[in-house]
């Protein structure tokens, strides 16, 4: 059996390892186009502040790991997929046949339609290559403009502040991380960032970027303001990288459409990670989540099915944790609530503390929190286990911080649920 995996990110690597566990004899090759050994984008913020060497971003120890598992890692770009002939063509002109193909090509940053985006001072923050450019231009005391205060924008904010730059953030939405946090939580983040000396512009967009000489650019804002910058970083969202299979028989929507076995509309082709539109635990709908835990889950399920095991995915829970210059926030599942469901919250803006729980009947279906670092994982446990909280729901409505107690009392044999 020949398994071919396109994309050497977390989805591809976990898939390869899972295939090897299932079948010691099959042939497994990962083809990735980035020049570095397989690495994790998630580690980039820590690389930006010299917390780790470049090798600290590697998913596995590249010297021994892949060889010891007999996984071939090929550094090449795949140019085309021939689903009828079951082969792929590489950039060097060679081709490779497959029995089962996994597409784990991740996502690409979206370029907002702004004039001046091609200037050398403008970069996205998606790859190690981008990071090197950012490190070069984000020198202490220089002015940096970050376009987009979404999840990725907020994650690199801290690194930029730690590099000692003067930072301005421009976000079109009315608050920071609008797709992960509600008004109150997003508001706390905004106040926190302003207190940390960051120039935050919400409900504002960048109109244009123009060369201002001396290596500087001028950034024009929709509110009439102008910012001078040595570096502009775009973090305005990502889009599934489906270009390779456009025009083939593989069905696409927001990403590659897959079933609960991560199988595309072509039975020999699977998809996993940011590129795949897989099933969401909370809604049962098929959605692109573009988060790391989903990528590894997808990789595992896809591999089990490629290896011939029949494994249906129950769905991945959308969840995020964010550290914004020291203020930690997280959200899980249907944090915005469901029609007819109850909700409860504790909001203490002076202490930058917030927790919000969303119920559907007696079960927890979503949660978000700011300023809470201990036992946050249990929110996932409560949601994914769909525990009937019974009496504990009333207690949580009165005190939403008692989530750990609610979980223990409802799942353990404590004898007093």
């Amino acid at each position: 059996m020949q398994h071919l995996i396109i994309g050497a990110g977390p989805a591809g690597v976990v898939a390869a390892e899972t295939l090897r566990k299932c079948d010691p004899d099959c042939s497994i090759a990962i083809i990735g186009d980035e020049p570095e050994p397989p690495y994790s984008r998630m580690a980039i913020p820590y690389y930006l502040i010299d917390n780790i060497e470049e090798s600290g971003t590697y998913l596995r120890d590249p010297r021994a790991h892949f060889a010891s598992q007999n996984i071939e890692v090929v550094q090449q770009k795949v140019d085309a997929v021939d689903t009828a002939g079951k082969s792929v063509t590489l950039a060097d002109g060679s081709s490779r046949a497959y029995d089962k193909l996994l597409i784990a090509t991740g996502s690409n940053p979206i370029s907002p339609p702004i004039p001046g985006l091609d200037l050398p001072q403008v970069h996205s923050c998606w790859t190690l290559e981008d990071s090197r450019n950012i490190i070069r231009l984000a020198q202490p005391g220089s002015n940096v403009v970050l376009i987009g205060a979404g999840f990725i924008g907020c994650i690199i904010l801290e690194a930029l502040v730690k590099r000692g730059v003067n930072l301005a953030v421009v976000e079109m939405g009315n608050r920071m991380v609008p797709r992960m946090l509600d008004d109150k939580a997003g508001g706390l983040l905004e106040t926190w960032c302003k207190n940390e000396g960051i120039d935050v512009h919400t409900s504002c967009s960048v109109q244009s970027i123009a060369d201002a000489g001396n290596g500087q650019v001028e950034v024009e804002l929709s509110d009439g303001g102008k910012l001078s910058a040595a570096l502009v970083i775009t973090a305005t969202g990502v889009k599934a990288n489906t270009s390779l299979v456009e025009g083939t028989d593989i069905k696409l929507d927001q990403g590659i459409l897959v079933n609960r076995r991560m199988q595309s509309s072509n039975p020999d082709v699977y998809a996993a990670g940011d590129v795949a539109q897989g099933v969401d635990f909370s809604t049962g709908n098929f959605e692109v989540q573009a988060i790391q835990p989903t990528a590894t889950d997808h990789g595992r399920i896809a591999a089990l099915n490629m290896a011939g095991r029949d494994d249906e995915h129950h769905g991945t829970l959308n969840m995020n944790v964010l550290d914004t210059v020291g203020l930690i926030s997280c959200s899980f599942g249907l944090w915005m609530g469901v029609d007819g469901g109850d909700s409860t919250e504790l909001y203490n803006p002076d202490e930058f503390q917030y927790i919000n729980l969303q119920f559907d009947g007696n079960t927890l279906v979503g949660a978000s929190a700011v300023g809470k670092t201990q036992h946050v994982g249990v929110l996932r446990g409560l949601i994914e286990s769909k525990i009937d909280l019974a009496n504990w729901k009333d207690r949580l409505m009165a005190d939403p911080t008692a989530v750990m107690e609610a979980y223990l009392a409802s799942t353990q044999e404590l004898g007093y649920s």
């Binding site: 590894t296 670092t373 446990g381 994914e384 044999e413």
Partner: protein, 159 residues
């Protein structure tokens, strides 16, 4: 045979000796807020439940880590955090459905129970034997782990 922690919440009096011992073992200070084992209080019932990582088979924390910073201690079976590799991204803290791997603002890394390399100090400190470290193949803690795990749909979906 590998040993595991056996927790009998019925015997716990809430004295917090385990938290003191754990924080001393791992941080050199008696500071329960930095303990990896935590005693939860049930005010209505006047009862207590010590809880920490069950070293679960699924190891959600380990699977979620983007940089391979969590591994298995071969002698104890504990899932341990390699401090030199951990970047502090916290994704493991939302991945563990039991809430037992937590970010430490003091170190900028995550912390979890490591079974103290085979001599858990919480068990040694507990005056009522509510926490013991035993070679039993079916400890109370295993039961806890199983009852928690079976409630999760993703527990079945494993290689």
């Amino acid at each position: 045979m590998q040993k595991s922690l056996n927790i009998d919440p019925g015997k716990c009096t809430g004295c917090l000796q385990c938290e003191m011992a754990c924080s001393y073992e791992h941080t050199g200070t008696f500071n329960p807020s930095r303990s990896y084992i935590k005693v939860f209080t049930f005010h209505h019932e006047g009862r207590f439940a010590p809880y920490t990582c069950t070293q679960c088979d699924e190891a959600w924390c380990m699977r979620a880590c983007p940089v391979d910073a969590i591994g298995i201690d071969a002698s104890t079976g504990a899932k341990v955090v390699y401090e030199d590799k951990c970047v502090g991204c916290k994704v493991c803290t939302i991945a563990c459905p039991f809430g037992t791997i937590n970010y430490s603002q003091a170190t900028g890394k995550v912390v979890k129970c490591d079974l103290c390399g085979g001599d858990p100090q919480c068990a040694a400190a507990c005056p009522t034997d509510a926490i013991t470290y035993v070679d039993a193949d079916w400890t109370g803690y295993d039961r806890m782990m199983a009852s928690a795990a079976k409630s999760l749909p993703s527990a079945e979906a494993n290689a």
